[in-house]
């Protein structure tokens, strides 16, 4: 029986007063029409109080017609009435709306910017740049770029930054920077020799400390001592007989040999360049589209409609979600950037291909030997054309510093 009245709160019910002669008989009629009636009380001989569901009110009115009974509604209960009552309280509703809106706005506002791990000057520089991008206290977060974008722009604009991590923690932007530091030379290197790391013919030497062991035009192999870190006379060879009695003391001074030893070295480099080549590049043209994003997939475009006129394009999409307190709402702003992509086809003559291959080989070698080295001359040793490719083997002469340090062991 209770079953009937359990969910009644959600559908709503009313208390009615039935007035008339023998009002209880009216319920017989109602019950026949499948109207649920409960908690019937006889107030006095002319009045009955009862409760009926909200959806039965129209049936009640229909049944009343022509009977002479009078109906009066006394009180309303349940959620639907509560809801309509609430709707009539405009100031309350307005207040709720305003508070939700303000929480919403405040949740999407930048409240704090933290920069850590950098010097105060750099910190100031970062903050100025952030201000330029619009990332400042009180800014609306939706209009700002994604943290990754901010990170990239900061890295581009501040050359002193080696790396910066931009993290969005709710209403706080936490930035952690790593400044570029000039690695200082080892303060005081231990005693050492300079030895050759490659074979070559020495063309130039500059020794600031130590004793040169080789001269210009000498040919050296890897491991040969170029500059010795031992200064002074070599002790006379130890006589086998004397060895037991008096040990000759080594009087030589140990120093850290420093200097540059430039030698001519040579390399064989092979390179291959195709005669025909197709590749794609971004032309630099781009178009932005903005859309309001609901959930993961549904997008409502707001700016930039239709297809772009690009024949081929590359898409990059970033979505920024609205926040409410610490939750990310499934509603956000999506930005799609389309970059035009152009396919280029290159046909080379054999001469052009060879020139290209030489250029590539030279670049390759420069990377290998380092920027300080000079490439003196180059020569094509061998060239073949097969499978639509030009293959070259080139010979290079390079002037480079071949000195590398080798510590002197000082014994135990």
């Amino acid at each position: 029986m209770k079953k009937h009245t359990q969910d009644i709160y959600f559908t709503g019910y009313v208390t009615v007063l039935i007035k008339g002669d023998r009002p209880e008989l009216f319920f017989n009629q109602l019950v026949q029409e499948k109207v649920l009636v409960w908690d019937i009380i006889k107030k006095d001989s002319q009045t009955c109080e009862a409760k009926i569901r909200k959806q039965d009110i129209s049936k009640l009115r229909m049944q009343r017609r022509g009977t002479g009974y009078k109906i009066r509604f006394r009180s309303k209960h349940g959620f639907p009435f509560l809801f309509t009552a609430l709707l009539h309280k405009k100031p309350l509703l307005l207040g709720i709306a305003i508070s939700i809106l303000s929480i919403f706005f405040l949740s999407n506002t930048v409240w704090k910017i933290e920069v850590r791990g950098v010097s105060p000057e750099l910190e100031h520089q970062i903050e100025t740049k952030l201000d330029d991008y619009g990332v400042r206290l009180g800014a609306f977060k939706l209009t700002l770029g994604a943290p990754v974008d901010i990170q990239q722009r900061l890295l581009q604009d501040i050359p002193d930054l080696l790396w910066i991590g931009v993290q969005e923690k709710g209403t706080t932007y936490a930035l952690e920077g790593v400044p570029k530091t000039i690695v200082k030379e080892e303060e005081q290197p231990g005693p050492r020799h300079l030895v050759a790391k490659k074979k070559g013919v020495i063309v130039d030497m500059f020794v600031s400390e130590g004793v040169a062991q080789v001269g210009v035009h000498d040919y050296v192999e890897p491991g040969d001592v170029l500059v010795s870190g031992l200064i002074g006379n070599e002790p006379p060879p130890v006589n086998k007989d004397q060895k037991d009695k008096t040990e000759q003391k080594d009087t030589r001074k140990h120093v850290a040999a420093t200097g540059n030893v430039i030698a001519r070295t040579w390399y064989n480099v092979s390179a291959a360049v195709p005669l025909e080549e197709t590749y794609t590049v971004l032309s630099g043209k781009q178009e932005n589209k903005y859309a309001i994003q609901f959930g993961d997939s549904f997008q409502l475009p707001v700016w930039g409609f239709g297809e772009t006129e690009f024949k081929d394009s590359q898409e990059q999409t970033s979505v920024r979600h609205l926040r409410f307190l610490r939750w990310e709402l499934p509603i956000g702003m999506g930005k799609t950037t389309e970059y035009e992509r152009v396919t280029k086809q290159v046909k080379r003559t054999k001469e052009e291909a060879i020139a290209q291959a030489e250029k590539l080989a030279k670049q390759d070698l420069q990377l290998q030997v380092g920027a300080d080295a000079d490439i003196i001359s180059q020569k094509i040793l061998h060239e073949t054309v097969e499978n639509g490719k030009v293959k070259l083997i080139l010979y290079f002469q390079v002037n480079e510093d071949i000195a590398t340090s080798q510590p002197i062991s000082q014994g135990d």
Binding site: H4, E24, W38, D39, I41, K42, C48, A50
Partner: protein
């Protein structure tokens, strides 16, 4: 005709162990202490007040007297009465 029906009904309840209220269309009254009375198979409400409930039955009326009566549930053939009951009386018509 009615007599004849009742005789068949009586035979059913006696020999086949079928519940009397179903076969004979008689009211079934369940009470819990003196404060709840559940009446099934009645034929309509005749009178209801603070201290009396009168129901029409197939054969006559049922009169319940007491104090502070409330009809907790009212359905076409069922009534749940709440209050302090004193007397149940069957009245032949």
């Amino acid at each position: 005709m009615k007599k004849w029906q009742q005789r068949i009904g009586n035979w059913f309840t006696e020999h086949l162990d079928m519940p009397a209220d179903v076969v004979l269309e008689l009211p079934r009254i369940t009470t819990i202490g003196h404060f709840h009375a559940y009446i099934e198979n009645h034929r309509g409400l005749v009178l209801f007040s603070d201290n009396e409930l009168r129901l029409r039955l197939n054969t006559g009326f049922l009169r319940i007297t007491g104090e502070s009566f409330v009809l907790k549930v009212m359905l076409p053939e069922e009534i749940l009465l709440e209050g302090k009951m004193k007397e149940f009386k069957f009245i032949d018509s």
